[in-house]
Symmetry: C2
Subunit: 290 residues, 2 copies
């Protein structure tokens, strides 16, 4: 497979803009597309070419990267009439980094293969701050040789690059991450809620238990942030709801019911509906204040 | 308050026997009581005196320590007709280290106070292995001066000694620990179950996500142990059920409903009823294999 120099980047929102910027800093030639064009400006000002359509963005490049909103957006971008698969040159590596349905990733992989394209699903963890710092964890599924060809791109954007095996497995790994996270976050939130109701010193409580068997990243970082009254998003409730919904759907497809995930999803949907959609996931603490 | 030299130790089960042994190693004079007398033998062989009753164990000592099974046992040991409070000498420090109801700890504290005794509730975390190694975390509630007098005892048995404030707060802290742990454990178990159903490499999955936002002690240690087919108890399902039941009851008393805790409790009760009561908590993985 040939070396990747030119990259079409679709979706320059908060995450995408930072990721695209890192690619340019690492010497890749960028063409960018975003539905609202003003979000491409910081990149075009640094020399990225502006594409007017997805189709224009996906043609004449060695790789296409996308990070958009929902699986329906991913479907449109890749499988739509003038989408990436219809437009990309033979041999292009196409990489969707949106957190999306594993089954859709497989569908795109199959469609890509039949057109002589290579597809990688490569969702990330680490949030806005990880994207900005270039320290994302990237969870990639697809053919090994396509992954190897794409690795320099991943290394420009992330720090912990994981090859998870066949197409869809990157998304599956991301689902596992969100599932484990949901349990740890909700457990931490319930411990804090209990402590409040019992009149304990919450900070002393977290300090006392965080280094033992009850310890988690979510307790020591995310829930603690909410405990201190800071609800600014690292990771927004609405995105967590999206991810948990995908994980639940996919688990059910595989015959697994995950009651804890479903309960956290239910709680977060309630939060979303009551005005907390764009706060950080630590807002789950507010669920218990009703 | 006077220095503690002589200790009556009630409950020499797996945890208690290790803890009592550490006290003897640190030079405390021990008198021991256990319902089934043969479990006191390793201690009496090393020079501990055998008490035939709770009452005998609790009199003529500077401190009484207990670690028994359920709150009803704690109630009987302390508040029963020939219990610790009726039998201990004026000025004795009485320390219940059983994981028990915070409200019962307060009740014992009040009864003790009216008889000129000092009461500390001091449940532990760290399990059998922590008890054996003398590395328990001890979460203590009660009057500060009584805690200070008892500190040398705690230091002989544990490593992380936390003073949590007033009577009952040690138990409250322990409840917080079990609540946060329940969330983290169940999230980890659901991630592993998802991975299995999706055909992912489970070990690679845990390695990929354990150092990020989804990371927890339960994922990296407990659930991972179960994933590898090892269901030997560090912490038994039946004890986890007991602790979660206490936490749920106490939260409800304070007007808090904790849906995640209740769901994990329900799942673990099912496991308990289907023959897994004496396995380790990692057996929660089996819940998903039905």
């Amino acid at each position: 497979m040939k070396e990747i120099r030119k990259v079409g980047f679709i979706g320059t929102g908060i995450m995408g803009a930072s990721m695209a910027m890192h690619l340019m800093e690492h010497g890749f030639e960028l063409k960018v597309y975003n539905r609202s064009v003003e979000k491409t400006r910081p990149l075009t000002e640094k020399g990225a070419k502006l594409a007017a359509t997805v189709s224009e963005c996906a043609s004449g490049v060695d790789a296409v990267i996308s990070i958009v909103g929902y699986p329906k957006d991913v479907r449109e971008v890749y499988l739509g009439e003038d989408g990436v698969i219809a437009s990309a040159d033979q041999g292009t590596v196409i990489i969707d980094m949106t957190t999306s349905a594993p089954s859709l990733a497989v569908e795109i992989y199959e469609a890509a293969k039949s057109k002589g394209l290579y597809s990688i699903d490569a969702p990330v963890t680490g949030g806005d701050s990880g994207a900005k710092a270039g320290t994302l964890t990237i969870l990639a599924g697809g053919d090994q040789d396509a992954f190897t060809a794409a690795r320099p791109l991943f290394e420009a954007m992330g720090k912990n690059i994981v090859y998870a095996g066949k197409a869809g497995n990157g998304q599956h790994l991301k689902m596992c991450n969100q599932i484990a996270l949901a349990g740890a976050l909700s457990g931490a939130a319930e411990a804090i809620s209990y402590a409040r109701a019992a009149g304990l010193d919450e900070r002393a409580m977290v300090d006392a238990i965080a280094t033992g068997a009850a310890g988690s990243f979510q307790l020591s970082n995310v829930a603690k942030k909410g405990m201190e009254g800071d609800f600014a998003p690292g990771f927004m409730v609405k995105h967590f709801v999206k991810d948990m919904g995908l994980a639940d759907e996919e688990a059910l497809k595989n015959g697994k019911k995950l009651p804890i995930l479903e309960e956290v999803l239910r709680m977060c949907r309630e939060l979303e509906a009551s005005g907390h959609a764009e706060e950080g996931t630590q807002s789950i603490l507010k669920y218990y204040e009703k």
